[in-house]
């Protein structure tokens, strides 16, 4: 359901709940900092009957926020494992319908020793480095060479790659099961080359403690979905494609 037509050719940022809620926290920070408005309400018979109440308004828990040529996919609920694939396909239909120019998916990569790491490292995975040269500073960033990805981001990235949409996944080392604003800040740092992503990251770090408390319920629910999706595979190594 589109309240206003999102302008064609926008850059899509995926902030769906996943490991450490890294993408969700990054997306929320961007939405707040840029004062983005909800433009698209995502609904499906397959989603749980949840509505968000805010200032005498009702909202779907899944929305696309948009402004300045950037569209941010954000969710108040984890994507149920059973609908992950059809959901990813529908998102890509929307992306193609709006001729979006590229997709940036921000996520976490589980790091059991995360508490020992001051600045989480970010790894990337892309099908087109040229498409992001003006947006992302990949200078010292390492490629995500060999790993399992599991969950809504895995389904979404697969679908984007399959449809040959210029796509990049940015994965910051993250607490597996705790909301991780520090990892979100590390991922957003890479995007600062572009004006549209110039946001105050100190503010994100400062509000990190509050975010960790506020996001704990979503983290618990997301953990439940992650277990159903065999999320622990992300700590394993693939053996076939070596």
């Amino acid at each position: 359901m589109e309240k206003k037509r999102v302008q064609d050719g926008s850059l899509v940022l995926d902030g769906l709940p996943d490991t450490g809620l890294v993408g969700t926290i990054a997306a929320l920070h961007l939405v707040r900092a840029k004062g983005m408005s909800p433009m698209v309400r995502i609904d499906s018979d397959l989603l749980p009957p949840v509505a968000i109440v805010k200032e005498m308004n009702l909202f779907e828990p899944l929305m696309i926020y948009s402004s300045d040529g950037v569209s941010v996919i954000a969710s108040e609920i984890p994507i149920p494992t059973e609908i992950t694939k059809p959901f990813a396909r529908e998102l890509v239909v929307w992306i193609k319908d709006h001729r979006c120019r590229a997709v940036i998916s921000i996520g976490g990569i589980p790091e059991p020793a995360r508490s020992e790491i001051e600045e989480p490292e970010v790894f990337y995975l892309t099908n087109s480095t040229e498409a992001f040269s003006a947006t992302i500073d990949l200078g010292k960033t390492k490629q995500l060479d060999s790993a399992f990805l599991v969950g809504p981001k895995a389904a979404f990235l697969l679908e984007c790659f399959r449809e040959e949409i210029p796509t990049i996944g940015l994965f910051a080392q993250s607490f597996p099961n705790y909301p991780d604003p520090g990892a979100a800040a590390s991922a957003l740092t890479l995007l600062r080359r572009s004006d549209v992503f110039q946001v105050d990251l100190e503010e994100l770090v400062k509000s990190g403690e509050e975010m960790r408390v506020r996001f704990r319920d979503l983290m618990r629910r997301t953990m439940g979905e992650m277990e159903r999706a065999q999320k622990s595979r992300e700590m394993e190594s693939p053996s076939l494609l070596v």
Partner: protein, 139 residues
């Protein structure tokens, strides 16, 4: 592509998922009811096995080490700390919130060896297993 499972299998699988979701929902409700009745916040925590014991972490954003109360009764670990990281708007509705959690430690933990550290609001307890049994020689 269909994997060709029978309708009966599909139905059983669907029921299993539904039951798992109900159980999860009951637990989530119990947790929120506890938080509301006790006016507290139950922090996220994780217990992981290590080679010689366990590591327990508890996410306590905004808490300093001297604010944490930790007591152990048998294998029940009780932890309390002030929760200061709630926005002022929310705080008005929920004054003096505390983090509270009670965790049952595995029965083989040597409780005399527990070491606790605190860093960036993350409480970490390293616990060793009690040494028991005997070494088997390989011929």
């Amino acid at each position: 592509m269909s994997l060709g499972f029978s309708d009966e299998f599909d139905e059983r699988f669907r029921r299993l998922i539904l039951e798992a979701r109900r159980t999860e929902e009951r637990m989530a409700r119990a947790l929120k009811e506890f938080e509301r009745s006790e006016r507290c916040v139950v922090p996220l925590h994780e217990l992981r096995p290590t080679t010689d014991g366990y590591t327990l972490t508890v996410d306590l954003p905004g808490v300093q080490k001297d604010e944490v109360g930790l007591t152990l009764e048998g294998t029940s670990l009780f932890m309390t700390a002030p929760c200061k990281s709630i926005t002022e708007k929310r705080r008005r509705h929920a004054k003096e919130l505390n983090y509270i959690i009670e965790i049952s430690l595995p029965g083989d933990v040597d409780t005399k060896t527990i070491k606790a550290t605190m860093r960036n609001g993350l409480l970490r307890l390293e616990m060793k297993k009690r040494i028991g049994g005997y070494k088997i020689r390989i011929d």
